[in-house]
Every structure is written in structure tokens, then in C-alpha cells.
């Protein structure tokens, strides 16, 4: 179901918030045993909030833009009073005493937190398999991974456990699982959404964004999430002129006359032919709508992966150093002195992928300050940014694949970490440049797996992404209506409510 459909139902008094929430919880209870999207399901607090909203509505009070919409939040985003684990043993019992700014905003918009979604440990991975607690399965084919690191969030939307989910993207962690799960995911401009309360992986790259069943819901959620936050000094307020209000910018604002660039570097070796065909098909569709498509060259593209791994692992090694067992989280039981306590806690608490990145990052930073890898990578980042700035002087959008491959088999990546790192190859450059990028479904492979296409725009031009994406969506049909083959259709939720009661509100 879309946000519009649910809210229309509320307005028409076809069902109550409590009924909707109950149905979603029921669906999670029945099906999440197979999918494994959630680490925590917030039954009680969700039902309580639903009852409050029904109260509010019955008194005729105004409600927020996401009133009564169940939302799944990635478990590296702090929720007051609700366990926030980052899918790591080290934070297994961590209950934050505060809400992340985005969670506060969701609550103020009257959304309903339905559960905390699984992820790769500390968001490090592209398959959600590095989670210390469970494997999440792709709802389209449960032998496949949902992508990562926001795999739980994307799978929750695809499986119809929530119409909306919140993820975080450091090098592709929203876009890649959105492509794998056939949903719409936005990595916003760096600084447009507050990071306060997002457990840091790589601070200069991390960005929170929405994952939804269709473009309009994604835009609506972004509208709620974005904005400068006094608690995050890196958050920014774009010029008022550059930010039209989203839902209104969507319909019928054509892309006639737009110039869209197709980065040649993405269409080389390693790209799955069916994905290449789908992306090129999108280009042809845009051309039909009156846009100009040009192949362009971005030579900085190839630096992306190296710069990404240097910056992200260096920052991660520092950000994750605080998990020493002293103030919160787990503490090793066996130690003789302080140093042993810290070493044992970290050895027992972190998984292999996290350790690998901490080690890599420590080496990066030990190479020195002035001439070391980190500063060199920062200089290359400036080059990449400049190249994007130049490209966007000429082009309105970039059109490119989200992933080089289709969703892969569960368990396959363990044998080859390099393959996992390549999963981000088409997404990292936008993270490094700090520009917004969106992935949306553009059909299915012959094997029946979703294919994602990625659009990128200049800083703070999310509106362009939404305009073009909603036009493309009309051609492919919103993914939210396509339920994975083995799952009951999401529309059933309303049917269930109506057949059981049929009571009018």
C-alpha cells in the first residue's frame, strides 16, 4: 500500500490507525520469520501510538504529514528507549536515552515506528550478512541477499512490512539494497538530513535517507527528514530557491529539454548485460520524453573505490574506537586489567568485517598526517567533487546502473570479500561527491529479480531526481504494487480489515 492509499483510507474512515498497525504487525509476525528484516519489532509502542492518533483524529485535531504510517528504522539510528544494536554484539544491549533527529522528526510527523531493521554490522557490507544476529532474505527470492547495508529496511518495504523505511548510505547502502529489493531509495545530498543519532560509520560520507515503495512516498518522507539541525554542524540549509516543496514538484513537470549524461565508465566490464539493457532502455524512455541523452566520460570514476575505502575505513577506525566496554554495551567477562578488558571486549564484540575495516583504517591513519593516505584521499575527493560540479554545469542528471550485478546468493560473498566491495562500484562516487542519488526499479531480469536504475543530480537538487524518477515510474509501474511472488499481496491488508469488520469510522 502507498502512503496516499493509507491516508485516504483514514480520511474516508474506512479503517483506523490501530487496525492498519495491527495488520502490519500481523504480517510481520507471519512472514518475518522467513525474511528476517527486523531485529526488534515495536508492537506495544506502535499500538499505543496508533491509539493516540485515533484519539487525536476523533477529536478532529490536525495530524502530521506521515500520520499513521508505519515506518521501519535501520538499527543504527538511535531510538529513545528502544534497543539500537547496529547489528553488533558490542551494542547488543544498548538502549539510547535519546532519539536521533530523524526519529524525532518522524514522530513529530505522526509516523509510527514499527520496528528496527537489520543491517550489516555497523553498516559495513553490501549483503546484510555481516549482521551479528541474523540473515535477511530477499523477498523476491529468499535464496538471495537483500543487499546492504540497509538490507533490513529495503526488505521490509519490499515484503510489505511497512510502506516506508529509513536507511543510511555511506557508499551505496540505501541504493544498492533498494535495487536488489525492487524499491525506491534516496541517498540525499550530504548535509541535507541530520546525522545526529546515526551511529557513525564514516562521518564524512554517512547520510540518512528514505526507502519506499514508490517515488512520491520517498519524496514525502524526504520532505519530513530534511533540514538543518543545530545538533549536527555538518547539516546545511540549502538556498530556499533551490528547494521547491516535493510532492508539488512531481506531477507533470516534464523533463523536456533536460540534458542527461550516461557515464561511459559504468558500462564497462563486469556489468550484467540485462542491467545494461534496462538502463539503456531508461535512456531511450527519457529521450522520448524530450530529454537529450549523451554518453559522457568521468575519468575520476576509477579513483572512487580507493578513495572510498581509505576515507571510510579511516573514519570508521576512529568512530568505533569508543566501544571499549567501559560506559555502555557489552564488556568482556574475562580480564585481569584495563587493557585486557578493552582488548577482550573488542575482540569478542566485533565481527570479522568490522575488524577488517578497523585494521585497514588504523593502517591508513598510521601512514601519517601531512603525507599520509587520508589527506591524499581528501585531495582526490576534491578532484572528484570538481569533476561532478563540472558535469552538472552541463547536465541536469546522470543516468547509470545502481549495481553491477543482480542480487547474489546468500553465503556467496564470504568466499570473496573483493566481490562485496565491488557491489558499491556504481554508488560510491556520488557519496564521495556528496551529491544526491536515487535508485528506482526499472523492471526484472529473466530470472525474475528486480533491476535498479540510478539517477544522480547536483547538490540539493533532489527535486530533479524525483521529477525524472516519477516519470520513469509511470512507465514501469510503482514497485510497491508488485508483490514478490511467494508473498500475499500487500493490498490484502485492507481486505483483511474490511472483511473482518467492515465497520465505518
Amino acid at each position: 500500500m502507498t502512503i496516499d492509499e493509507i491516508q485516504k483510507g483514514y480520511r474516508d474512515k474506512r479503517f483506523s490507525v490501530r487496525e492498519i498497525v495491527t495488520e502490519y504487525l500481523e504480517r510481520i509476525r507471519k512472514l518475518d520469520g522467513t525474511i528476517g528484516a527486523f531485529l526488534t519489532v515495536c508492537d506495544d509502542s506502535a499500538l499505543q501510538k496508533a491509539a493516540e492518533l485515533d484519539e487525536k483524529r476523533s477529536r478532529g485535531e490536525e495530524t502530521g504529514p506521515l500520520a499513521g504510517i508505519p515506518v521501519a528504522v535501520k538499527d543504527n539510528i538511535c531510538t529513545r528507549g528502544i534497543r539500537t544494536t547496529c547489528a553488533s554484539r558490542v551494542l547488543e544491549d544498548f538502549i539510547p536515552p535519546y532519539d536521533a533527529t530523524v526519529v524525532k522528526k518522524l514522530k513529530e510527523a505522526d509516523a509510527i515506528l514499527i520496528g528496527k531493521a537489520n543491517l550489516d554490522e555497523f553498516a559495513m557490507g553490501s549483503s546484510t550478512e555481516t549482521s551479528a544476529f541474523q540473515t535477511t532474505r530477499n523477498p523476491w527470492d529468499i535464496t538471495k541477499v537483500p543487499g546492504g547495508s540497509s538490507g533490513g529496511s529495503a526488505a521490509a518495504v519490499a515484503a510489505g512490512f511497512a510502506p516506508l523505511a529509513i536507511g543510511s548510505d555511506t557508499g551505496g547502502s540505501i541504493r544498492q539494497p533498494s535495487a536488489f529489493c525492487g524499491v525506491v531509495g534516496l541517498k540525499p545530498t550530504y548535509g541535507s538530513v541530520s546525522r545526529y543519532g546515526l551511529v557513525a560509520f564514516a562521518s564524512s560520507l554517512d547520510q540518512i535517507g528514505p526507502i519506499a515503495g514508490n517515488v512520491k512516498d520517498c519524496a514525502l518522507a524526504f520532505q519530513v527528514l530534511r533540514g538543518q539541525d543545530p545538533n549536527d554542524s555538518t547539516s546545511m540549509q540549502p538556498d530556499a530557491a533551490g528547494m521547491p516543496s516535493f510532492p508539488s514538484c512531481l506531477p507533470d513537470q516534464g523533463i523536456r529539454g533536460w540534458k542527461i549524461g550516461l557515464p561511459r565508465e559504468c558500462f564497462r566490464h563486469g556489468l550484467h548485460p540485462e542491467i545494461e539493457e534496462s538502463v539503456r532502455e531508461c535512456g531511450r524512455l527519457f529521450e522520448k520524453m524530450g530529454a537529450t541523452i549523451r554518453e559522457i566520460s568521468l575519468p575520476v570514476w576509477d579513483m572512487g573505490m580507493n578513495v572510498y575505502y581509505i576515507l571510510s575505513s579511516a573514519e570508521a577506525s576512529s568512530n568505533l574506537a569508543r566501544y571499549d566496554g567501559i560506559r555502555y554495551g557489552i564488556r568482556a567477562k574475562d580480564y585481569n586489567n584495563l587493557e585486557e578488558m578493552i582488548v577482550h571486549t573488542r575482540s569478542e564484540g566485533f565481527g570479522w568485517e568490522t575488524k577488517r575495516r578497523i585494521l585497514l583504517g588504523t593502517c591508513v591513519l598510521s601512514s601519517g598526517y601531512e603525507k599520509g593516505y587520508y589527506k591524499r584521499a581528501m585531495r582526490l575527493r576534491d578532484k572528484i567533487r570538481a569533476a561532478f560540479r563540472k558535469a552538472f554545469q552541463e547536465y541536469d542528471l546522470l543516468l547509470l546502473p545502481t549495481t553491477p550485478t543482480l542480487p547474489f546468493d546468500i553465503g556467496k560473498q564470504h568466499s570473496d570479500p573483493l566481490e562485496m566491495y565491488l557491489a558499491d562500484i556504481h554508488t560510491v562516487s556520488m557519496s564521495i561527491a556528496g551529491v544526491p542519488a536515487l535508485s528506482l526499479p526499472c523492471g526484472f531480469s529473466r530470472s525474475g529479480l528486480p533491476i535498479g536504475v540510478q539517477l544522480a543530480a547536483n547538490h540539493f537538487e533532489e527535486n530533479k531526481l524525483f521529477s525524472a524518477a516519477s516519470l520513469l515510474e509511470r512507465e514501469f509501474g510503482p514497485s510497491g504494487r508488485n508483490t514478490p511472488p511467494d508473498m500475499p499481496p500487500v493490498g490484502k491488508i485492507v481486505d483483511n480489515i474490511l472483511t473482518r469488520g467492515g465497520k465505518q469510522y
Binding site: C78, P96, G197, S318, I326, L365, K375
Partner: protein
Amino acid sequence: MKQKMKGSHAADGNHLFETVIGLEIHAELNTKSKIFCSCSTRFGSRPNENTCPVCMGLPGTLPVLNEEAVRLAARAGIALHCSVNRVSRFDRKNYFYPDLPKAYQITQYDLPLCESGYLDIETGQDRPNGKRRIHRIGISRIHLEEDAGKLIHPEGEPVTLLDYNRAGVPLIEIVTEPDMRSPEEAAAFLKALKSILEYTEVSDCRMEQGSLRCDVNLSVREMGKTDFGTKVEIKNLNSFREIQRALAAEAERQREQYCSGGPDSILPETRRWDNGRGRTVSMRTKEGNQDYRYFPDPDLPPVFLDRSLLCLIRNGIPELPEQKKERFLREYGLNPYEAGLLTGEKALADYYEEVVGFGVDSREAAHWILDELPRIRKDAENGEIPVKSHYLADLIQKIGEGRISRNTGKDVLMEMAVTRKTPGEIIREKGLSQISGPAELQKIIRDVLSRNADAVQDYKKGSAKAIGFLMGQVMKASRGKANPNLARSLLEELLS
């Protein structure tokens, strides 16, 4: 040449060696809240009372810079003749220690807020007739950083407790050039610096509460050499006296080491001052230099100081010690020694001006504040001045009017410090008023004269000593309450 001159001045008298000293001073800034969160910086709260998710480094929290800290640090920089960088940046210094909640300290590494300043110091000014010399001590940088928490080891219990009240309190670190050549110079520099930080209200500089801390780098070299010797860091110095003693002891240790084992036998290490044993003790060697893995903190954007803000900060700097001293010389007719002592401490200078403001003679006020006040002040808490300025003014006036004697005045001052009563109350309660009525005094004097006929005879024979003796007898008989001037003239009158 210049250094040779400095070296020959070495106080320890060992003319073969020169001591080279550089300081790293940490001063807590006088802000109400911490540097990256809104917690209070109050000293003396219950453990962990002044903490929040940000300064505890909880997952997901982010630092937000307290601009007041930047303003205060820039103010210190301007007062110390530094150039203030228009753009500076924060970096992370990574190391594991339980008092460091994030396992990194946010500090400034390659782009500090202030650079290349100096402070002129005078040595010898703490003695009235000392030979005064002026040295310029270079300041290489001043940067902003956050303080760490505190480890508490309860006695006899196998646990360590942590108090994070201090974690995130804003600090400036002031790093000097290795420009000092004796412990006396180092102490003089620190005193002058403390005074400037107090004047500018950058820091309250309470060494006993740790809001001013000093680490020292010290090396020795043979006189005439220009290369620096191996430097040793000395930590944990908590008072001026300790600093002087520790530096003298460490210089002595290094000279002995140098003589017995050669220059290479001095190890680059960190030592701490053991006050009880009166010597420095090795804490750790610096071999395999600790790798702090500095990198720019991605959570904090660069700090920009525009011209107009710098201008505002510059204009907000009050009169500094040097300027105040000049003014005191001009306005109050003091000598440089008195003016130097009074302006060396802002609280004392302010107190002096208050007392003078009540109409007291400026030289008299200086005498009482410099000669009498220190005696009662050394027992006071936190070095506070235990007598209100208008009470002291009142006391000085009463002495001037002859209501009590100078000596009685000293006793009244003591009494005021203890009881906090006004001088009038004390004089009345203790019956300390001088006998200034001529009739009453004449009676006492006649009495004394009749009992000391021998002395009267001596006086008449021309003995100068005799009048002194008779005055003493008069004071004794009046139990010290006789107005000495009046008594003397009456005595002379009656004897003639």
C-alpha cells in the same frame, strides 16, 4: 651571543651548562558550558553530574562548537601578540584511555587558532632592589581542545571509578618556544601568563583545581653549544613553588647524568615530580613514539573568524598588566616594584583601586596591601582577600586620623579577617581607641616622670636615649593606647 649572556645568568651557578626550558600550558576556559555540548563546566559538582550523551561519547552523538570558547581563545591569542588564523580546524587525536569517552580527543593539529606570539617577562622584579631584566619568550601556538575525564582510585578497593564532569571542558594549550634558561624564568613566565589570562578573563587559572596546568620540556647543553640536548618532559606540576623546585632538581639530574654518562645517557622520557622525595621520577620512555593517528574531524566544519568578529574581540580586551602597571606608576606615585606587585594579580590590583577609591592615600594603601595583607591572606581559602576593601579603607583612615595607632591597626586587620567585623566595631568592643585627650595623657605622663626621676635627670644632662625610655614607659602605662605623636610633644613640653 645572546644565549651566552642568558646562560651566564643561570641561577644554579653551574657555569659549564645551560638549561633550556619550553612550556606547554593547559588553561581551562571561563565558559559556562562545555566546548561541544551544553553541560555546565562548574567545578565541584557530584561525580558525573555535568554529563550528557554528547560528552559521554554515546553512539550517534555529534559535537557542536561553543563559540564562546573560540572567542576566549582568540582573546588570549591577541593578548599574547599572536596572529589569529582566519581559518582553523579541529582534528582527532586517537588513543585509548578510559577517561577519554570517544577514544579520541578533539583538538587542533595543523591549523591551530593562534600562532607565533610572544610574552615579555621581567625577572628580578620580585625583590625590591633586584636587578630587573626583560626577556621575550616566544609562543609558538595556542590551540583549542577538549579536556578529558578523571580516574578515581578509591583507597583499598580493587576498582577504578570514572568522573566525566571534566570531559569536554574547553581548554587552550599554549606552547612556548624553548626560550627560557632557568627555573626562575619559567616561573616568571608562568606568573605573567597567568596574570594575562586572569586579566582577560579567559581562565580563572586555579592551579589547585587544575584549571591551569603546566608541562615542562627541559634539556641541558654545554655552554656555547647551539644544538639542543635531549629533552625530558615533566608532568604534574601543581604550583609555582613545585615548578621551580622540580625544574632545578631536573636540571641538576641532567647535568650529573651528562657528566657521568655523556649527553647520550639522557633519555627522551616523561618524568613526574615527586614532591615528597624532592626529585623527578621516570613515568615512561618516549621510544617508539605514540602514534595518535591525527586526522581532520569530519564532524566539525572549519572555524572561520572574520575581520569584524576579530575586531570585536580585540576591542573587548581590557587593560592588561603591563598597561595597568604604567598607569599605576603615573597615577598613584608608586615605585615600579610596588606597581609590579600590585598589578601582577588582577584581583589585587582591583582591590587596591577600590581602597584608593574610598579616598585613602595611595601610598598608604599600597603599604597596607603589600606589607600587611599578605600575612593574613596566606591562610585564606582560595587565596581570597579576607577583608572588604571599604573596611581596609576605613581602617587606614582611622589610623591617619590618630584614632588608633599603626600597631593597633595591624591587630585590628587580623581581627577583621577572622570576624569580618568593621574596624569601628572591633575598636569599640576591644577598647582600642587611642588616648588623644591631652588632660588624660598629661596625668599619665606626670605619673611616669615622678616614678623615673633618674631618667629625667639624664634627659636634662642631654641624654638622647632618656626620652626614648620615657616614651616607652608612657606607652606601657597607657597600655599602648596613647597617641604617640601627642604623647611625645606633651612629654617634651613637661620636661622643658
